[in-house]
């Protein structure tokens, strides 16, 4: 045993991109690997150690009964548990099944649905166990990830911004795509963290970092409607990578109910 803090990286239903962010922090990777003992990180190393873990990074959402049990065990083995990415913090894009008939979903993809063991919902890790810190993003920002790891090692609370993407556009000097071009943008209600890249690339924000603190969703969706966007499209825009986060879910359900009421 090295005596260093022990780090575990665990995967649930996900694309692998968030844990890859750690390997993509090329300049910091060897430094981080030096300050912790990587006790469990299947993608990076064949050296597999049992718990307990000082820090666990959890990627992915809960979609099977087996994973419901597995996350409980990891929680029991872990001192400080961090969820990384939209799947772990909100259920991810696969949470679209939550609004559908999951059996129909499965049988449309797989010829023999009997082989498929899956829950009807995709849910965030925090719906199942206590989470000590949530790091948002689809994918997460690697610099925020390094900040989280270093903060936890130093015994202080990680600091990641909760303001909206709009503020970062102003900082970058990016002209507002919604005001100038009428392009639908979720930036006013989405948490910063990506460095406001979409408006800089001439498109609207599509909500990768989930709801910002105290988002005014009704005001934004009213503006979308005023700009001529059909309700169905507004619902789809909210139901994407963070569609199952409470704020986005409540608003997309409200608009869906309005539409259903009219029909």
């Amino acid at each position: 045993m090295s005596g260093k803090p022990r780090l575990g990286v665990f995967k649930f239903a996900s694309c692998d991109g968030c844990q890859l962010s750690l390997l993509a922090a090329e300049d910091q990777l060897l430094g981080v690997a030096d300050t912790v003992e990587i006790a469990y990180f299947l993608e990076a190393t064949s050296r597999i150690q049992p718990g307990p873990y000082d820090i666990a990074l959890i990627e992915g959402s809960i979609t099977t009964q087996h994973d419901v049990e597995r996350i409980k065990q990891i929680r029991a083995d872990t001192h400080f548990l961090v969820t990384i990415g939209a799947c772990a913090t909100s259920g991810g894009i696969q949470a679209l099944r939550n609004w559908s008939d999951c059996d129909e979903f499965v049988s449309s993809v797989y010829a023999t649905p009997d082989y498929i063991s899956t829950l009807a919902t995709s849910t965030a890790i925090a719906d199942h166990v206590k989470v000590d810190f949530e790091l948002r993003g689809c994918p997460i920002n690697q610099y925020q990830l390094i900040e989280v790891i270093q903060s936890v090692l130093a015994g202080r609370r990680p600091r990641t911004p909760v303001h909206s993407v709009c503020l970062d556009c102003k900082r970058r000097g990016t002209v507002c795509v919604m005001v100038a071009q009428g392009t639908a943008c979720l930036g006013p209600v989405t948490q910063a963290g990506c460095n406001a890249i979409c408006p800089e690339y001439n498109r609207g924000c599509y909500g990768c970092f989930g709801p910002a603190a105290q988002p005014n969703l009704v005001s934004l969706t009213d503006q979308f409607s005023a700009n001529g966007m059909p309700r169905e499209q507004i619902v789809n825009n909210l139901r994407s990578f963070n569609g199952n986060s409470p704020e986005f879910r409540v608003e997309s359900d409200r608009i869906q109910a309005e539409q259903d009421g009219e029909q």
Binding site: L20, A44, T63, T64, A111
Partner: protein
């Protein structure tokens, strides 16, 4: 005769999570399974009813290592459905974006996932203690590949700039040209990488593959061409579903892709690409082929690492050339009108052929989606190779035996997160 079971409960240094199960009865092989226990995410179902503009962003989330591949196959399929012709500048930028992805994916696999097997380490991070110059060289190549993706795509993982018809915005010439000194350093690093890995000690192991790759008479294949095989076939992409079928075989819980006519497995990926397109490699990569001890076509899966080295050289050399000649595309995206129809495309993901097909309606919504990733195409071949590898891998040492099998699996760079969403999955962690 006694039963012997070799199990790797959790494969490591692969993308996504799976296991390996091999059962022997004396000298008889009873079962060989590459087990996939990642939960399905049902992408083909959740795309239905969404606007076709959402498809490149949503399918990117199938894989965090090769999101560009999903974006490329999806936009080319949708453009085929809509009758959109992209301009040559957009075409070049898509190749440049793909170069970035091949670089980050191959550098990751060569240095952090695969090389440790040849040199006897548990991980690339551990290997860094004894091979600091090499590991830092690999990380620096990966970093500059990611920078290319960031400038062109907005970010390296799940880029935001790709759209049906082209790009939301053309990259600024000065931003791309700033990368040139680093990319030139990387070209040399890739040459060193290829020479380094070609000198590894390879097992004497050859498989009777049918190699399958996109091919193109003008260039090294990425985004367009026909499907070539090592048996001399030229298959039109629109005939993909006629020529390749997904079938359920008895010894596996997964859907395997097989050739429809013969029922045989086949191999796609860097080994197939280099073997079938060696004359289209960039001049420096071509020269390395002539100097190297590895001969092409190559049928030894362990030498896939040499193919990745050659493709690193090619990708850096082509990226440098595209950037030097770069003129911003005008417009950056081609306009289109909705119409009902269907379209398919194959592009070369870092791990091989990636097939997409979409049916869209007159309102621009997705009616049907079909996606066949490279790892599910390779799975039947990987299992066949594992059977063939048994006599080489077996020893009295259980851990060493399991490791010998795992080493072979890693050579294919399987992407289990990708394949899972399309394979039949049985949860079995017993």
């Amino acid at each position: 005769m006694t039963d012997r079971v070799i199990k790797v409960t959790a494969l490591t240094r692969v993308e996504g999570e799976g296991g390996l199960y091999i059962k022997l009865n004396g000298d008889t092989i009873e079962n060989v399974r590459l087990e996939i226990y990642e939960p399905p995410r049902l992408f083909e179902a959740l795309l239905r009813g969404r606007k076709l503009e959402d498809v490149p962003d949503v399918t990117a989330r199938i894989c965090g290592i090769c999101p560009v591949a999903y974006q490329m196959s999806s936009v080319h399929s949708l453009e085929a459905a809509l009758g959109v012709e992209i301009n040559p500048e957009i075409r070049k930028l898509r190749r440049l974006l793909y170069c970035g992805e091949w670089i980050e994916s191959h550098a990751l696999h060569v240095y952090l996932l695969n090389a440790p097997d040849f040199l006897g380490f548990e991980s690339g991070l551990e290997m860094a203690a004894d091979f600091p110059a090499e590991v830092n060289r690999g990380l620096r190549m990966k970093k500059h590949g990611n920078q290319l993706l960031e400038i062109l795509g907005g970010r390296a993982i799940h880029p935001v700039n790709v759209c049906v018809g082209g790009f939301f915005r053309s990259p600024r010439s000065e931003d791309l040209k700033k990368l040139l000194p680093d990319l030139e350093w990387c070209l040399n690093a890739a040459i060193e990488t290829t020479k380094w890995v070609a000198g590894f000690d390879f097992p004497d192991f050859s498989c009777n593959y049918q190699l399958v790759s996109l091919a193109n008479d003008k260039e090294y294949p990425m985004n367009e061409g026909y499907i070539a095989t090592s048996d001399g076939e030229s298959i039109d992409v629109i005939d993909y579903e006629k020529e390749f079928e997904e079938s359920h075989v008895e010894h596996s819980t997964a859907l395997h892709s097989l050739r429809t006519k013969t029922g045989n497995a086949y191999l796609t990926g860097p080994l197939a690409r280099v073997s079938l397109n060696v004359n289209q490699l960039s001049p420096t990569a071509r020269r390395l082929v002539d100097e190297s001890s590895v001969s092409w076509p190559c049928f030894n899966p362990f030498q896939s690492i040499v193919a990745r080295g050659l493709e690193l050289v090619h990708a850096f050399e082509e990226a440098i050339q595209i950037i030097r000649e770069y003129q911003p595309a005008k417009p950056s995206r081609v306009e289109y009108a909705y119409r009902s129809g269907s379209g398919c495309a194959v592009t070369e993901a870092p791990r091989g052929l990636l097939y997409h097909r979409y049916v869209v309606d007159a309102d621009g919504k997705v009616v049907e989606a079909k996606i066949v990733p490279p790892t599910s195409q390779n799975q039947a071949q990987i299992e066949a190779d594992l059977r063939k590898w048994i006599p080489h891998a077996l020893s009295d040492d259980e851990a060493a035996t399991a490791r010998a099998f795992e080493n072979l699996v890693r050579c294919y760079d399987p992407c289990i997160s990708c394949s899972t969403h399309f394979l039949k999955v049985k949860i079995d962690r017993s």
